[in-house]
Structure formats: structure tokens, C-alpha cells
């Protein structure tokens, strides 16, 4: 038994950190959020493709690096609240591979290389992100229906639309998507509601599509948990660092036991999330039968835990923690938004209960 990343994964993690520190530190995440109408840097996305990051979830033969690498990369991205559809595209690339066929293969290549943005369009329910019922249809070469909270949907070159008939690919029409921006707490996480009445192509039928999409959902749940872990890491580190510098009542505030115990609680939540996320990533990578269960455990735990850690990081800083200038809000917003998507805390908890048949170890 060992818990550490293997050599390749550790190298990927450190090179990802270097890349982000140089190309997209958290100050850059803020700039993108404020100034970039797409909500992400297209150049950097293309670079991620060139470096193989976007194909990370593909099968090994296709150049994938596995779920543990995926989680390690996303935790690094969480650390800088990295903006953009990286995770969504990585998941979609694998969906394209799983669908198979020429069209899918072509788009798989385009998405994995970073040339094209392809993401999933699944949910139709405004008040329940976990509702997998779909009304959208594919018929006579056309996709019709409405999808909501499509991540970076307005920016996508193609969408993989979950329809009654299966997974259909829709290319962006010349006139652009019939999209409505859905702006959330996390301004850098772009969502759109999209109304479809467009030409499309069925990539796989519903019987196969159900499994493909369930696999995709599980991977996205894992990825979101890893992002939240990264947010917690940074929130903890920068919060504690501040308490060592800032003085009040004649001493660094980090010397007060009240804040020390709070920080200890933040560490406990953060490290426990790390245990849960990488246990889940390992199970996913190895096709363990309980992968769905432990992935849901990780997400159900990461949600409330990341809210706690990121919220308390603001509290450790006091007044300046409430300013735009400091980074604490970036992590809180990402964590809070991710908690409701990619498998909400409630849905993840329900999934845990449903998959637990008396929990024999």
C-alpha cells in the first residue's frame, strides 16, 4: 500500500504548478474574470491541449494519463481558481472516445488538441442539477430542446447533447448558439442556457449513451472534488500565512488559540478531503467496483468542507479578507459554485446511501 503519487504523476503535478505559476497565477484568474469576455484565455487552453492535458482522461492507448493524474492536475487548478472549461473539455474528450465512430474521433482529436471547445449539455432542470431526465430529442438529423447551465456552452464549438435518443453532437451554427448567459456566484465559471433547434449527428444511442454519460458524470464529480481540494489548500495556506504576519493586541494574531484551533480545523478538513479525493481517484483509475461510491463520498465531503475552509480563510484575514483585492473570495466562490454542480452534495450523499449495502469493508 502506498498513497503517494507515482513518479510520472508527481512530475505532472509539479510541472502543472510551474506552468500555472508562470502562465496563470491567481492574479491572472482575477484579470480573466474581470476582463475576458469568454471567461478564459484561449491561448492557454490551446497550450494545455498541446501539452496533452486535455486528453488526460482518454484511455491509456489514446494517450490518457488516468484519473489520479486528472485529480492532481485539477487540484493544482483549484489552487489558482483557474478559469476555463478545462475539466469539462477533458471529460467530453473521453465521452467522444467512448462513443466511437468517425465523427466522434474527429472531434475527439480537435478537442484534445485544444483546437476546439467541446463540452456536454445535459441538465434541463433549473432547480435541480442532478435531475437526469431529458426531454431534448434527436430526430431527422436535428436536435431540439433546451439545456441549462451548460458550462462554457456559449463559448463551445460543439456540444454533446444528451437526448432521448442518445448522445448527439451539435456544431455551433453559423449564427451562433441561441444562448442565454447564466451568471453565477463564481463569475469565472461561465454557464449558459441553450435552446436547440439545430442540425446534429447521433454519436451513440441511448442504451450505450447512458453508461457513457454515467462514466462522464462520475469523472466530473471526481474532478470537481479535486478542484475544491485545491481551493482549500490555497485558502488554508494563505490564511495561515496572514495570521503569522498580522499583529493585534501586541502579538501576531496566529498566536491566539482561538485562531489556532480554527486553523487546525481547516487543516483537518483539507487533509481529509485529500484522503477522500485521492482514494476516489485511485478507485476510478483502477476500475474498482466501488468507484462510484467513493467518488460520491469525496464530493459529498468536499462540498461542505471547502465552504468551511474557504469561508474561514476570509475570517482569518478579517476586513481585508472581504476585499476584492485579496484572493480569498476566489476560492470561496469556486467552492460554493462547484458544490451545486457536477453532483451536488445532496445527490452525492444519496448515491452513497444507495450504493452502500451494509458497507462491508
Amino acid at each position: 500500500m502506498h498513497f503517494e503519487l507515482n513518479e510520472d504523476q508527481a512530475l505532472l503535478k509539479s510541472s502543472t504548478r510551474e506552468l500555472l505559476e508562470s502562465e496563470s497565477p491567481i492574479a491572472e484568474s482575477r484579470t480573466v474574470m474581470e476582463d475576458n469576455p469568454d471567461g478564459f484565455a484561449k491561448d492557454l487552453h490551446a497550450q494545455l491541449g498541446e501539452l496533452g492535458y486535455l486528453g488526460i482522461l482518454q484511455t491509456e492507448d489514446a494517450g490518457g494519463m488516468g484519473a489520479i493524474a486528472f485529480a492532481a492536475v485539477l487540484a493544482e487548478m483549484g489552487r489558482v481558481a483557474f478559469p476555463g472549461p478545462y475539466m469539462d473539455v477533458a471529460v467530453a474528450v473521453r465521452v467522444l472516445e467512448d462513443c466511437g465512430g468517425d465523427t466522434a474521433a474527429k472531434w475527439q482529436q480537435a478537442a484534445a488538441s485544444g483546437e476546439k471547445i467541446v463540452v456536454l449539455a445535459r441538465g434541463e432542470n433549473m432547480t435541480n442539477a442532478d435531475d437526469t431526465n431529458v426531454a431534448a430529442t434527436f430526430a431527422d438529423g436535428r436536435v431540439t430542446g433546451r439545456k441549462v447551465f451548460v458550462p462554457f456552452g456559449a463559448q463551445a464549438d460543439a456540444l454533446l447533447v444528451d437526448t432521448v435518443q442518445g448522445i448527439a453532437l451539435v456544431e455551433r451554427p453559423d449564427a451562433g448558439w441561441n444562448a442565454t448567459e447564466q451568471t453565477t456566484l463564481d463569475h469565472s465559471q461561465r454557464f449558459a442556457a441553450i435552446d436547440f433547434d439545430d442540425a446534429g449527428e447521433l454519436l451513440c444511442d441511448a442504451s450505450k449513451g447512458t453508461q457513457v454519460l454515467a462514466d462522464a458524470a462520475r469523472r466530473a464529480t471526481l474532478g470537481a472534488s479535486a478542484v475544491m481540494l485545491g481551493c482549500m489548500e490555497s485558502a488554508l495556506e494563505s490564511g495561515v500565512a496572514y495570521t503569522k504576519e498580522r499583529e493585534a493586541f501586541g502579538a501576531p494574531i496566529g498566536s491566539f488559540q482561538g485562531l489556532q484551533h480554527r486553523a487546525a480545523d481547516m487543516l483537518i478538513k483539507t487533509e481529509s478531503t485529500r484522503s477522500a479525493v485521492f482514494r476516489a481517484a485511485w478507485a476510478e483509475e483502477n476500475g474498482e467496483p466501488d468507484a462510484g461510491y467513493v467518488v460520491s463520498v469525496a464530493k459529498a465531503w468536499a462540498g461542505p468542507s471547502s465552504r468551511f475552509v474557504c469561508g474561514q480563510s476570509i475570517q482569518l484575514l478579517g476586513g481585508v479578507g472581504y476585499t476584492w483585492e485579496y484572493d480569498q473570495h476566489m476560492w470561496l466562490k469556486r467552492a460554493k459554485t462547484f458544490e451545486s454542480f457536477y453532483g451536488s452534495t445532496r445527490a452525492s450523499t444519496e448515491n452513497v446511501l444507495a450504493s452502500s449495502t451494509h458497507l462491508n469493508s
Binding site: 433549473m126 456566484l185 476586513g319
Partner: protein, 391 residues
């Protein structure tokens, strides 16, 4: 025990409700959402509604009638604030002036100061902001370092203040500054200063909500005239403490009224989506209501104590911790229960339009920090109420 409102108080509230029905054109959240508005025009909405309140006698509730106030009871003041919150009325842009600076002038100012400043304060012709908090002092008000250097009869102010509400729209600022660097409490003086002068720089400070309701103000050799000192030199700390104490009764019913409205809107949202039928959702909403009612009970108890002129007990620290931490739980849970829709900015298509949940969620993070952080309040409870030892 008697928790019933007096007939006079009931009459006051009923008249107020009728007046609000008549005079409040629409909830402030609707104003916010009206595309015709920008930050400036929203301040005008607030200023105009304050003038209406003033004309109707609902401003300067605790001020004596000779200065345009109502001479109202603490219960009436508490009811006013609660009803305004329930109606989602525009908030006063001059609340710190009327709540803190006005009372300071009434109790400690000169006749000239009162005549000069009080009428324009109530009418909102002059907006006031507060210059108490400093970046280095945090929750420790006696630790301020902004200094006032003598310049002939007058003073020159050097330093920085933060958490300056509506600074960019203010005309005057009341400032605590050191006229003696050695005397921790006795070296602080209470100044009134115009903002439009050389040496005063207001900077909007962007908050995590993206708004700039608060600002910073920098003083670099700014002029504070001797005639604009409130009280005597070195009395500033005492005056500030006194007027902060006046706040005790008026806000007792406000948080539970405001949060009650938010819970109502949450229940509406969950009824619309059908989620309210789920037992787990019901349990969470029920627990939110329970906690808000306990907050209300605490408020009623504090108000009763103020109304009886009883000496302050532990209640102000308890109430502060309770409402601020509860508001975090409330907004956190509400957003979770509303699902994806709950994540939408109020301006986004498809969002609920009755509460700006994202703003409330973020704003709730400030509540445990300003006006004495939760940590400071717990220290106060442990030391002053429970009399636990210091090392």
C-alpha cells in the same frame, strides 16, 4: 413578563404599515433590477426615500423633537427598522450620520454645530460617512493612529480610515483622530470634516461582491477646524462609546425581520420548484425558521431590557454573534436548497428576483468581521460575562 406591544406601539406600527403601503413605490430589489439605474441613481433612490421618511416624521426617531426628531421610544425605533426591512425599503444613505454623528452633536456638540449640521443631515442634503475604523486597528478602536496636528487654532489630519460606507457619495465625515499620541483613550478627539477639500482622498474599495459600498479615505494634511470639534479635545473616545451605545435598542428586531423576509422568499422559491415537499428540505427550512425565531426572541428580550432602561447585559455580544453567524448559515443553506437557480446573480435571466442571494451570501461574510469580529465578541463574553481568567 409582558412581550405584547403597547397600544401606542401597535398604533405606531399600523400607521407605519399604512404609510409604507402608500409611499413605498416598489421594493428596493426591484429598483436594483431596473436597467435604468446605475450606482449614482440608486443612491438618489435611497436619498429620496429618506426624504419621504423625514417628511413623514420617521427619521431621527430618537432625536429630540426640537431638532427635527421624533423623540420616539426604543420600541418604536425598533419597529420602524423591522418594518422597513420587511417591506424591502431603500436603506438610508445617511444612517451613520443620523445614528451616530447626530446623537454626538445633540449630546456633546455646540448650539452652532447643531444648527449648522442637524437639519441637512435629516433632509439628506448632506450625507455623512464614518471615520472610525483603521486598517491597522481592526476591532481595537482605541488603537487608532490617525493623528491631528495643531495648525494655529485648527488641526491637520494625517492617516487612513477604512470601512467608510458610501464614502464616494458623502459630503462630510466624522473622524476619530489622535491629538495625543501617548494617552491611549484620552488622546482621541472627535472631528467633523468636509470631504471636498485638499488632502482628503476617497477611494472606493471593491468588496468581494464586486461592489464598492465601502471605501477607504486617506488624509494628508487635511484641515479640521477647531469649531468642528465635537466635545472637548481628548473626549472623542468617550463620545464614540456613548453614541455607539445608543444603537442598543434600535436594531433589536431588524435582523430577524430581514432574515424572515429572506426565508419567506426561500419558501416561495421552493414552493415554485416543488422541492418544499421533500422531507429533507422541510427539515432544513424548518431549522432555519427555528433559529430565526430564537434570534427574534433574543431581540425581543434585548428590546424589553432597553425599554425598561435596564443596564446592558451580555446581550449585545450574543446578538451580534448570533445574527452574523446565522446569516451565513441561512444564505448558505438557502442557496444549496435552491439548486442551480440559487447560484444565479439576481440580474441573470431565470434568477429569483425577490432577494439578491449572491449579494447576501457574500455580505454575510462581512457580518462576522465588522463592528467587533466574532472572535472579539467571544472574548468579551468570556471575560466580561463569564469572568474567565486572563493568563
Amino acid at each position: 413578563m409582558d412581550l405584547r406591544l403597547s397600544p401606542d406601539a401597535v398604533k405606531f406600527r399600523d400607521e407605519l404599515r399604512a404609510w409604507l403601503d402608500e409611499n413605498l413605490e416598489r421594493p428596493y430589489t426591484e429598483e436594483l433590477l431596473d436597467p435604468k439605474h446605475d450606482e449614482d441613481s440608486l443612491v438618489e433612490v435611497r436619498r429620496n426615500f429618506q426624504r419621504k421618511l423625514n417628511d413623514a416624521g420617521y427619521l431621527g426617531m430618537g432625536w429630540p423633537t426640537e431638532w427635527g426628531g421624533r423623540g420616539a421610544t426604543a420600541v418604536e425605533e425598533a419597529l420602524l427598522r423591522a418594518e422597513l426591512a420587511i417591506a424591502d425599503a431603500p436603506q438610508s444613505p445617511n444612517s451613520l450620520g443620523i445614528g451616530l454623528c447626530g446623537p454626538a452633536l445633540i449630546h456633546h456638540g455646540t448650539e452652532e454645530q447643531r444648527q449648522r449640521f442637524l437639519p441637512a443631515m435629516l433632509s439628506c442634503d448632506e450625507i455623512w460617512c464614518q471615520g472610525f475604523s483603521e486598517p491597522g486597528a481592526g476591532s481595537d478602536l482605541a488603537g487608532i493612529r490617525t493623528r491631528a496636528e495643531p495648525d494655529g487654532d485648527d488641526f491637520r489630519i494625517h492617516g487612513q480610515k477604512v470601512w467608510t460606507t458610501l464614502g464616494p457619495w458623502s459630503d462630510w465625515i466624522f473622524v476619530l483622530a489622535r491629538t495625543d499620541m501617548e494617552d491611549r483613550y484620552g488622546g482621541i478627539t472627535f472631528f467633523l470634516m468636509p470631504i471636498d477639500q485638499p488632502g482628503v482622498e476617497m477611494r472606493p474599495l471593491k468588496q468581494i461582491s464586486g461592489e464598492s459600498e465601502f471605501g477607504e479615505v486617506f488624509f494628508d494634511n487635511a484641515l479640521a477646524k477647531r469649531e468642528h470639534i465635537v466635545g472637548k479635545l481628548g473626549e472623542g473616545w468617550r463620545i464614540a462609546m456613548t453614541v455607539l451605545g445608543f444603537e442598543r435598542g434600535g436594531s433589536t428586531l431588524l435582523p430577524s425581520a430581514e432574515y424572515g423576509r429572506q426565508i419567506d422568499c426561500l419558501v416561495d422559491a421552493l414552493s415554485a420548484s416543488g422541492e418544499i415537499e421533500r422531507a429533507d428540505v422541510r427539515e432544513k427550512v424548518g431549522a432555519l425558521i427555528v433559529e430565526n425565531e430564537v434570534l427574534r426572541a433574543n431581540g425581543m428580550r434585548t428590546l424589553a431590557s432597553v425599554a425598561q432602561d435596564l443596564p446592558p447585559g451580555p446581550e449585545s455580544s450574543i446578538d451580534k454573534i448570533f445574527w452574523s453567524e446565522y446569516h451565513q448559515r441561512l444564505t448558505d443553506t438557502a442557496i444549496e436548497l435552491m439548486g442551480p437557480q440559487g447560484q444565479l446573480l439576481v440580474t441573470s435571466p431565470g434568477a429569483r428576483k425577490d432577494v439578491d442571494w449572491m449579494y447576501e451570501y457574500l455580505w454575510s461574510r462581512a457580518g462576522t468581521i465588522y463592528s467587533g469580529s466574532s472572535e472579539i465578541q467571544r472574548n468579551i463574553i468570556a471575560k466580561r460575562v463569564l469572568q474567565m481568567p486572563t493568563k
